[in-house]
Symmetry: C2
Subunit: 276 residues, 2 copies
Amino acid sequence: MVLVTDARKPIGVFDSGVGGLTVVRALRARLPGEDIVYLGDTARVPYGSKSPRTVERYSLACQAFLLARDVKLVLIACNTASANALPALRGASPVPVIGAVDPGAESALAATRDGHIGVIGTLGTVRSGAYERALAARTDVRVSSLACPLFVPLAEEGWTEPDDEVARAVARRYLGELFALDPAIDTLVLGCTHYPLLRGVITATACELAGRAVAVVDSATAMAEAAARTLRRGPSALAQGERGQLACHATDISRLDEIAPRFLGEDVTSFELVDL
Amino acid sequence: MVLVTDARKPIGVFDSGVGGLTVVRALRARLPGEDIVYLGDTARVPYGSKSPRTVERYSLACQAFLLARDVKLVLIACNTASANALPALRGASPVPVIGAVDPGAESALAATRDGHIGVIGTLGTVRSGAYERALAARTDVRVSSLACPLFVPLAEEGWTEPDDEVARAVARRYLGELFALDPAIDTLVLGCTHYPLLRGVITATACELAGRAVAVVDSATAMAEAAARTLRRGPSALAQGERGQLACHATDISRLDEIAPRFLGEDVTSFELVDL
């Protein structure tokens, strides 16, 4: 429950790295007046290859940092953290906590024609089975999932053009494996905050493999919508007020100036280095 | 200085992850009777994309763990840690510390015909300029270096066959950039412990691009040789005594059983989970 007196407090967003800035981008589009505190745990990125216990421990430290900054709401932009640590994070927070998995699953259920959904994400997200649980709300749905570790460094290298030879080869390898699990997949969930940067090549490859249109969805927009619902906000009030402030923090600063704008879609004034 | 009374103590080896097991493999071939304590900082892997300050902090914690196990010698298997933290590690250790960069540079100088050396490694290793400094001992040498972030996840996915379409596309992209810096490169240093798993595809691609033979060297064998010199051991005494014990530790346990044997070349009995 977010109290009216909390209205002026910022929204907190954390991620294992910079990928969560895609969620900040959606949030600033949907709730432009809100102040946002962002934390990227870039010293310990990636979470995707780590065990649930370690992911939970690091995620709790990230959330504690945001709570100490008096946020009114926590968004877990990282799918791996959402998939493995949501109960622990909710248990440790006095304010509402929104994960990435339920909104992503919601988007997929809204998009699917025939109930054949593919989920791609990190090893930690796929192993957790979190999307399968979230999608089980509808019994007529078949879920196939696959971990795609190379998509993260591809996005960070900026090899993301739809005709990039390396990106195409990697996408063909992974999506070929996924469609072998279920050739009838009609909707694909980008279950990692890095993957929206590869949306073009992933969509083109999926449609090629399927021989028809495949809907490609991610969590960012749905998370921003969930945040608006939690804060009981109406439709976006863009240009009716001042643009909220964005304060970015990271546990390590290396290449952030180069990489962060790709995810955020605007310049990042600066990252403050913090030690968790 | 390693004292005679220390002979029975183990050798300590640490790495940011499991790649350092390639150094353990070389060490067990060169000094088969030695006990070895290995630590992979798998909770915080990779170091390659992190800042020098963070790499130094994590490396000191790894070394402290080994020193607490009473090792007589420390080997820094990780090139990024060697390139960014060697002075700090030596300053904090009462026993000799061997890094990966000097032995790798030594191997390159022994192999080069015309003094044109290429170095590939992580962003942290390349940015440090450590190989350039180590190779500057010879003034007739030209060094060109390039960070190749996708090689690590490629090796971990096991997409390492010389004819693997993805591995070839990634190698062509990176080595194409490297040979554009110096088309006369005759020797290539694999400046990251993961890269020896891709030796086949890297060698084939380098030779194709160069249109002639390119020598490909790594640090592992030279590090084992440096350890033998430091311990004042003669040529390998294989089969003259018992095989030393190997105790493996990691800060996170995820996929280790699957990945570790690829690097070590023998089965790993088990990893003990430790918290740094």
